[in-house]
């Protein structure tokens, strides 16, 4: 096939390695997302807390800067595990909005015009398709969560000195694990609702419903049945409990979150999160097909 000849010719050149094909989906997915200016602007906005926290770390270690600016941040003790947890939680919420905005659209656009069959008619499996799409979310949310959080951790370690990093290595692990859990849940949820409803606006609305209406439903169940187990539907709270445990946050006492924080045991929070992930996997498995099968 050549433009000037206008004849068909088979391709006999080199091929990319089979394992790398999913990265094509990721590359095109990222480019499509950043074609939207509002999305790009919001992504930039998501880095504002990082800059704020970075300045706060510097100020906490520089009494001179505090004096020059005429503000009082306190000493370096304010940069604690709770401080990092708040940063992770802040970025997680911003990441959630970003995922709800851009995540479902990546998949619904494939369903809108039946292009899933074109993907799956190529040497790409369903798992690779999902992996490629999930990688977009992973890269995006990583840039907002654990990457800046670890940068803050390193900056704090550098400014603090005296082996602070080695003494608090568990904190780096907690940051990484917490963020990865959050990314996995949000990515899975965004893909599962997109595959289920196949309509971007509805999928985004459903994501917000899962994170805002389910907690209300769980609260109502707890209130009516006079039990605390209704709160397992409160996924944001469950994620916070898991994070609190990873960050070694005590239920009460100095540096604690208060007795209401651990509303259900940590194992119940894990069970709730894993159940949600399992439901997402089931939806993806049953709904992501090249062809719809009509059952008689």
């Amino acid at each position: 096939m050549a433009v000037y000849k206008r004849t068909y010719k088979a391709y006999s050149g080199p091929l990319t390695p089979a394992w790398s094909r999913f990265t094509v989906l990721t590359r095109y997915g990222l480019k499509n997302l950043f074609n939207s200016r509002p999305f790009t602007a919001f992504t930039v906005l998501c880095f504002v807390p990082f800059v704020g926290w970075l300045i706060a770390i510097y100020l906490a270690h520089s009494t001179t800067a505090q004096l020059v600016l005429g503000i009082r941040v306190g000493n370096s003790d304010v940069v604690s595990k709770l401080w990092f947890l708040f940063f992770v939680a802040t970025e997680a919420w911003m990441g959630f909005i970003l995922a709800a905005w851009g995540g479902p659209g990546m998949i619904t656009q494939d369903f809108a015009n039946h292009s899933v069959q074109l993907y799956l008619s190529r040497p790409i499996s369903r798992i690779e398709y999902l992996f490629g799409k999930a990688s977009v979310m992973f890269i995006l949310l990583s840039c907002l969560s654990w990457v800046p959080a670890l940068v803050l951790f390193l900056v704090q370690g550098g400014l603090e000195g005296h082996g602070w990093i080695w003494d608090n290595l568990w904190l780096a692990r907690a940051i990484l694990l917490s963020c990865l859990i959050g990314i996995a849940m949000v990515s899975l949820l965004s893909m599962a609702v997109a595959v289920w409803v196949k309509w971007r606006i509805a999928a985004t609305a459903l994501m917000f419903a899962v994170f805002f209406l389910f907690p209300a439903l769980g609260g109502a169940i707890s209130l009516i049945l006079r039990t605390r187990w209704g709160h397992v539907l409160n996924f944001p709270a469950m994620i916070m409990i898991i994070w609190g445990d990873l960050f070694r946050i005590a239920p009460s006492g100095p540096g604690g979150m208060g007795p209401g924080f651990y509303v259900v045991p940590v194992w119940a929070a894990w069970a709730s999160a894993l159940t949600m992930c399992a439901a997402c996997f089931w939806l993806l498995h049953s709904k992501l097909k090249a062809r719809e099968v009509e059952r008689s």
């Binding site: 096939m1 990319t16 809108a112």
Partner: protein, 319 residues
Amino acid sequence: MPATIEMQNLTVQLGNRTILNQLNGALSGRCIGLLGPNGSGKSTLINTLLGFYEPVAGAARIFGKEVKNNLRELRAMIGYMPESDAFIADMTGVRFVRYMAELSGLPRGEAMERAHEAFFYVGLGEARYRKLGTYSLGMKQLAKLAQAIAHGPKLVLLDEPTNGLDPEARIRMLQLVREIRDTGEVSVLISSHLLRDIEECCDQVLILKDGRIAALCNLEEERKANLKFLELEVTQGNGFLESVRGLGCECASFGAGRVRIVLPDNIDLRQIYRTAAEHEVQIRRMNYRRDTLEDIFLKAMAGTPQVAPVQQGSANGSL
């Protein structure tokens, strides 16, 4: 050399329904037509060849490789143009085709080059930077063809490629299919409701009915066989038919002077003229009666679908 597509007791069920029922046969034409009424299993067969549906029994092979066990390898060799709309509306045509070519394994640069070439090849060169959502139906069909051939497949599966096309676009599409076929580098399987489309492009036809093979014939051989099949309109002449039979021809009269004759290989047309002259019979019209694909199709639809292995061969042959 293995057949392009082989089916061995291929049975596919969707839900509780058996859609393809013990299909047997080997398709080795350069351009294979897949015919059948709605619900006969044409699209299901294509989807099974692509590995979208798994057979409950039997197997399908492409280029001698079983589909089930060599899915990734075979998909790299296949180009698929689906029946329904299949595109990403927000993408420009050339970017979409490049994307699909990259997914098939072409490196970025080659994918871009081939995407441009494919667009020029199908005649959409000028529209390649327009978003696919703005394309007309005919342009979308051509864009689908472009994405199916951009990565240089060895087998192209075209599901109703002329659906919704105006006559001009249909002619263009069929011309492209014939060109692709004639390169000899690629085999084509076309599913269509339109017998004329199949007749114009294909050298082998598989007719499905109720999920079973109703006919599997080689159109080239049919055409050659039909050259010995005469239809005459003659004035009444005593003894003409008997004399023709005496030459060793099989013939039948249908009244009003209409006669059909099957010429054996050793009989020359001039002998028929001579016999007519001897009996003072005027031949007012004579043509080679072509057993059209429509005849073959109608015959296949009227007959009982075959479950047993189908022998490739003539679907006509008797008066």
